[in-house]
Symmetry: C2
Subunit: 277 residues, 2 copies
């Protein structure tokens, strides 16, 4: 096989995308919209969800198992569509895996650094993501003048998973988590640092009012992936449909599909069960 | 070794107690109080918590792995201190394991059947527990005249784990989950069918008012365990202290100990990490 054919074959391989569960579908959706030629293999670790309050060692172990599975499916790149796993396991995977790996934290950090005018940025996410300090680290690399204020919002994931979006309890929690941080620190950009949070975007925007730009790393990650594929000559040129993508979960395939269609308006079929250990 | 010595040796073996995480400590605490001679080996599956919204197949697989570990520690009996695992995996474990196994559902059902006067019983728990219908099944076996009304309360576990006990959000959710069930069905007993819920007992009692007996399967399970050990001649006669018990978790040993001491007022030390796969 000559180089040209080898490249053509490589370009047509799928992209591996993984998350602790359904949240990463917000990243998958941005990939579908912005890279319509790329097919993905999605893995949601629904048997062990959530990741947000588990230790770094455990998240690295889970991320390794999932990457191994995705590599066995011949992916040409891996997207860690989970903020917690991006914050805790990206460096390990990059070192260990032979294909390019990108997370959601660096693209989100870059977008926030571009969005802020006064250099004061808020980050909300799981305990794991916030305590890692990785958003701060990446933003400071780009704009050392920025000040970053992190706030864990542990209840948001459960609220989203219960479908409690525009709900008085969710609104109460938005104000409890955010009011003090916003008032005290005069931020003008807020990173939605967990893949579930874009589903609360409209409500958060309404409750915290104008003047704060909400940054969604899911969109930025799709753009970063586009850049990466182009740079490496790995873009596919064959348009694909939802039916070309594959979805795997470690538990509850039907429940996953229902969430995907009701919350994300993605009509996913044939989700397969894959137990990892 | 003669029979007497063999029995003496058997009596001194520990009891295995397991849960998806910290919730089962409410059962452990009742064992400490009511069976002061028994030492336990506790396993909390904190790397895969919660169990409540995962499938039966997954819960059985996890319960098998944990039982195998507990048996390797030479336990004389196993207590499934988790309502979801009791509802979904008790029958399988009973068939497969050589030591006696008890769950929390049957003792809780028995206590509720004894507590109700009008035969109308409410059960709250995780989706897995409520959808299993097992509380209904056990209560009907004892008192076929009873009517049972189940209500999943999926947010309660997260609220307890966030320490949001006497909190306006928790109070809102108590009324949202319970008011309609109580008003429509005229129940006079309510089973706290999840090991986290006893931590909300005082608040639930205050909010739903008098006239409804709250049934805590944790206490009833300790009593059932006492009966079982006595019946089989397996009771230990050597008093033990907190230091005699062993605690294992699959993730976050320090976090587990902090929760145990702050929420349960149990001064647990030396929790060990044990990864199961």
């Amino acid at each position: 096989m000559d180089t040209k054919n080898a490249n053509a074959e490589l370009r047509n391989l799928p992209i591996g995308v993984f998350d602790s569960g359904v949240g990463g579908l917000t990243v998958a959706r941005e990939i579908f919209r912005n890279l319509p030629n790329e097919k993905i293999i999605y893995f949601g670790d629904t048997a062990r969800v959530p990741y947000g309050n588990k230790s770094k060692e455990t998240i690295i172990r889970y991320s390794r198992q999932i990457s191994k599975f995705l590599l066995s499916q011949n992916v040409k790149a891996i997207v860690i569509a989970c903020n917690t796993a991006s914050a805790l396991a990206l460096n390990e995977l990059k070192e260990e895996v032979d294909v390019p790996v990108i997370g959601v934290v660096e693209p989100g950090a870059r977008a926030a650094a571009a969005a802020t005018k006064n250099g004061r940025i808020g980050v909300i996410g799981t305990e794991g993501t916030i305590n890692s300090g990785l958003y701060t680290e990446f933003i400071k690399k780009i704009r050392p003048d920025c000040e970053i204020f992190g706030q864990p919002c542990p209840l948001f994931v459960s609220l989203v998973e219960e479908g409690m979006i525009d709900d008085e309890v969710t609104i109460t929690m938005i104000h409890r988590y955010l009011d003090k941080m916003i008032e005290e620190n005069n931020i003008d950009a807020l990173i939605l640092g967990c893949t579930h949070y874009p589903l609360l975007r409209t409500i958060i925007a309404r409750e915290i009012g104008d003047g704060i730009t909400l940054v969604n790393p899911a969109y930025e990650t799709a753009q970063a992936l586009k850049g990466l594929l182009s740079h490496r000559g790995l873009e596919s040129s064959t348009p694909c449909t939802l039916a070309d993508h594959s979805f795997f979960v470690s538990d509850g395939a039907m429940k996953f599909q229902q969430f995907a269609s009701s919350v994300l308006e993605l009509d996913i079929q044939n989700t397969k069960l894959k137990i990892l250990e």
